[in-house]
Symmetry: C2
Subunit: 340 residues, 2 copies
């Protein structure tokens, strides 16, 4: 299976490391071989080689601070879109940055890849939150797969669980902790830190960005509930159509007072059926300490899925991480290969 | 798809109710139609009709206390094994009682069904805990499916999650709450009940049997960890080869003293790799209150799966129930049909 990496930051490198590490095991267990024919990254350079790129060497060059354009004599001078337009690959991995307002340039990358008959695997929330229905129709028309396990709860196989393992169930509600940064901040605040100190610590650890709005105002969680609404409930919601409140107004006093009532503040993303309608929202909620969502600490994510067959199922797992998000792409590749 | 029910107690009836309820939705979504051609139950009667049995009518007769042998003029006078030997069906649902010592008569039922070219779906822990490897080899030789999602955590799709959604991961350990009855008793004891009172309440609610040994001595959890060891780790362990300790020695004082140290007693089933070996055990453990397993109340089950790709993933869901275990069989049938 010939792969094209569009974007080669943390997530792309996480996948590359897993592919190198698990090459033999995947061939043995699933009969699949992966050849990376191209990598295009705005900052780290671009390279195209139909014979295959040595991933280990690419990773070594990056860790020495070198551009991968110097990898063999096959540097590629044009941009990512040009590479997608010219490459001979089976799957395009769309791993550029998330833009929740426009979904670009990722959406154009995906549309072009599908248009040229290539499957797409992505962890980019922008195109899926904003344009899932159109992109999925295009993929279906072409008989192609568009997979994006990593967009919600990173590598925790939530979308797989819903699509396959809960088949035949009717889902009535999903609610959970979908943003690790805010959960980390709330956890530290409960231990006594101020909001400002907890945010600063999250920034030092690389959980939060210098401008932390996408996390602390709830937009990241909002993108994820929108993806769940559109993918699981067949809606065509846009992220900013839904009510969204972040954690910036929560004080240490709020947290202490909730705790006295046996509750804990969590930023909860929620999607639910209300009559014929589907609603989505993000807001801080006081969760009962006995609920599985209450005990989800730090940067971990969790989702409770209410079904007509099993009542509530909760899945708890990582919501971020280089290797974890890399794994979400690997499992999507195994699905594209028809092996699981 | 022609189905034969062997055993028509709570779980069989739970599946029958789901099949009747979801008939149209399953046909619409998955293109599958189910026809029940036979039901054999030691207590509730037996009926065989190649044209199909009216499930709704069978359920109505049972709820009026009638034997289903009176269903139309096709009563079947012989035993379950004879029906398996004579029936023309695609799938045998083995739903008789669990015997953890011998695995019979279920193992003979399954062997006969596979021998005659029929797939098998079961929620019976006996044959899977004792004879999984032999039965699975037989199924593979014949190109048949042997599925048993309901044997561990009831309808909570744990085995599906591991097989499909964690594909490509190496699992190093699984540990969790696999018996709802003991978890219910421990939960009530923490609220102040004595062991005896909590057990009595569990018996009144139908969670515990009159002779509660299989639950309170840990044997039920032991069967489940053995299934996980053999199915997920490819072992051939027998249940009673592994160390097993139940909850009968735990006192209210133990629970209170654990609580003071920020811990909570849970009966933990555990399977883990130790060098080249795989170990399994059941015993009460003091779980840190911040761990997802600590907050699993009442009859709910949960399992934490440690992987090389994602770290820990925890799934929390029902561990028993008529509809829930019925659903485990439905999802296995959808898999047999190749639809998910």
């Amino acid at each position: 299976m010939k792969l094209l990496f569009v974007g080669f930051g943390t997530v792309g490198q996480g996948l590359a490391e897993l592919l190198a590490e698990k090459e033999d095991a995947i061939f043995k267990e699933y009969g699949l071989e992966f050849t990376v024919v191209g990598i295009s990254d705005m900052l780290k350079g671009s390279v195209y080689n139909p014979e295959g790129i040595d991933l280990q060497q690419a990773l070594r060059m990056l860790s020495s601070g070198d551009s991968i354009s110097g990898l063999s004599d096959v540097a590629f001078e044009e941009d990512a879109l040009s590479m997608i337009q010219q490459a001979d690959a089976d799957v395009v991995l769309e791993l550029t940055y998330t833009d929740l307002k426009t979904g670009e340039p990722a959406t154009e990358h995906i549309r072009t890849a599908l248009g040229r008959g290539m499957h797409v695997v992505t962890s980019n929330k922008g195109p899926i939150a904003l344009h899932y229905n159109r992109l999925q129709s295009l993929a279906e028309d072409k008989g192609l797969k568009l997979l994006f396990e990593g967009t919600v709860m990173s590598g925790t196989p939530l979308l797989n669980l819903i699509r396959r393992s809960l088949a035949g169930s009717v889902i009535t509600e999903m609610r959970g902790i979908l943003n690790g940064t805010t959960n980390y901040i709330l956890t530290r605040m409960e231990e006594g830190m101020t909001y400002e100190a907890a945010l600063k610590r999250a920034q030092e650890l690389g959980y939060a960005e210098a401008v932390p709005d996408a996390d602390v105002l709830g937009w990241d969680a909002l993108a994820k509930v929108t993806i769940l609404a559109n993918v699981v409930f067949g809606q065509s919601l846009k992220p900013f159509d839904n009510p969204c409140k972040g954690i910036t107004d929560i004080t240490a006093e709020d947290i202490a007072s909730a705790r006295q009532r046996g509750k804990r503040y969590k930023l909860i993303g929620r999607v639910w059926r209300q009559g014929d309608k589907v609603k989505a929202s993000v807001s801080p909620e006081q969760v009962d300490l006995n609920h599985p969502l209450a005990n989800v600490p730090g940067a971990t994510n969790a989702l409770t899925i209410s079904t007509d067959t099993l009542g509530d199922i909760t899945i708890v797992g990582p919501g971020a991480g280089r290797r974890e998000t890399g794994y979400s792409l690997l499992i999507d590749l195994l699905h594209v290969g028809g092996r699981v």
